[in-house]
């Protein structure tokens, strides 16, 4: 029963998507189990006292918090898989800074707002969208897109010259926003970002994410299309 990993997740969580991408890149098999974390299932609260997804289970062992899980996977994955954390402490620090920027600030101001208003609100039966919040989320998305564009214009990958966990972090957020139709790829500000996101989407690890399907909620038309055609 060694390495029989179960990932408790929810499809529209950028944190779960990141872990799924990293497990796939690292060639680690796992089974997905959907967890409607907002229902606060008692057994799940015991599994992860933080009450949030993702949580990764292997027999009696439980790993929680997306960043902690990703760093753990990096440490235990087979040597012949791609490295996602740079060796250099400065590069590592820059990667962690950006992961935290997107997982905290960007998530709080953009992803969690727009995904909740556009989809989770109905799934959780919490009434109709608050259009002021949607407007706020879209404004913040516009601001943060400028920063993302700035990063991508100056670097090959988000945190520097190499593909790192920061790229999977940002791609996970964008893929959630794209699913709920909140990204207008035709806008000029996405020109550079589109190139980088195409490179991410064309990775084999991305495939299962692109075939995600939340019952009753179809993704935006171009969602699974690598070339944005």
């Amino acid at each position: 029963m060694e390495n029989s990993y179960i990932l408790y997740h929810y499809p529209l969580s950028p944190f779960c998507r990141k872990v799924r991408l990293v497990l796939a890149e690292k060639k680690i098999d796992f089974t997905l189990r959907e967890e409607r974390y907002w229902e606060k299932r008692v057994a799940f609260q015991k599994l992860n006292p933080a009450g949030k997804v993702p949580a990764l289970r292997n027999g009696k062992e439980v790993f929680a918090d997306s960043q902690a899980i990703c760093e753990y996977i990096e440490a235990i994955a087979p040597d012949d898989t791609i490295r996602l954390i740079p060796e250099d402490p400065r590069e590592q620090c820059e990667m962690r800074r950006l992961i935290s920027f997107f997982d905290e600030k960007f998530n709080q101001e953009v992803t969690s707002v727009l995904v909740f208003e556009r989809m989770l609100r109905r799934i959780q039966q919490k009434g109709s969208p608050d259009e002021r919040k949607v407007k706020f989320g879209l404004e913040q998305l516009k601001n943060h897109t400028k920063y993302l564009q700035f990063l991508i214009m100056h670097r090959r990958w988000i945190a520097g010259d190499r593909l790192t966990l920061a790229d999977f972090t940002v791609a996970a957020h964008l893929s959630c926003l794209d699913y709920v139709g909140m990204i207008n790829w035709k806008k000029e500000e996405y020109t550079e970002i589109k190139g980088w996101y195409s490179r991410m989407k064309s990775r084999r690890a991305f495939k299962p994410i692109l075939s995600d399907h939340v019952p009753g909620y179809f993704p935006a038309f171009h969602y699974a299309n690598v070339d944005f055609d």
Copy 2:
């Protein structure tokens, strides 16, 4: 001018306190610069696009995000200083899970609420405390204290058998709550926690934190007292 570190901080930020503690443990000299981050000073926003403290500067290099900074310090600190991150990937994961638990959930539900309502609100001239929020924060503190007590009753340190960054994280949060008088150490639920916190407070690195003083706001009576007398 090598290793001339400047730490942009605010005294009542648990994130800044953690970095100060870790820099002191690692015997790295630094200068403190107080940053009233809520005033959104343009030069500071440029320094750290996340707009938050702490940010650590060394000449033209800037390191931001408390966890990223602490991991960086661990990597570059002199070899003869104490290790604060375990080598074992499982122990590392458990440490990161707990850091995230306290820096996200505990902070959001307890530290940031109570420190804001009890102190920052007046400093930022945002009216009088919202007593419902104080009540909510105190209830959450009670819940989370049970979890902390559970951890400390089963382990020598927060994340296991060794002193790690998780201990400094929790100590930083408790020290902020203690400063604003929100911890009633006489209550039974603090019995075990008090023992652990005494061990933390008696470390040399803790001294500067205990002599922190926010002008016009005196800390709780026992705040700087290692023995709680």
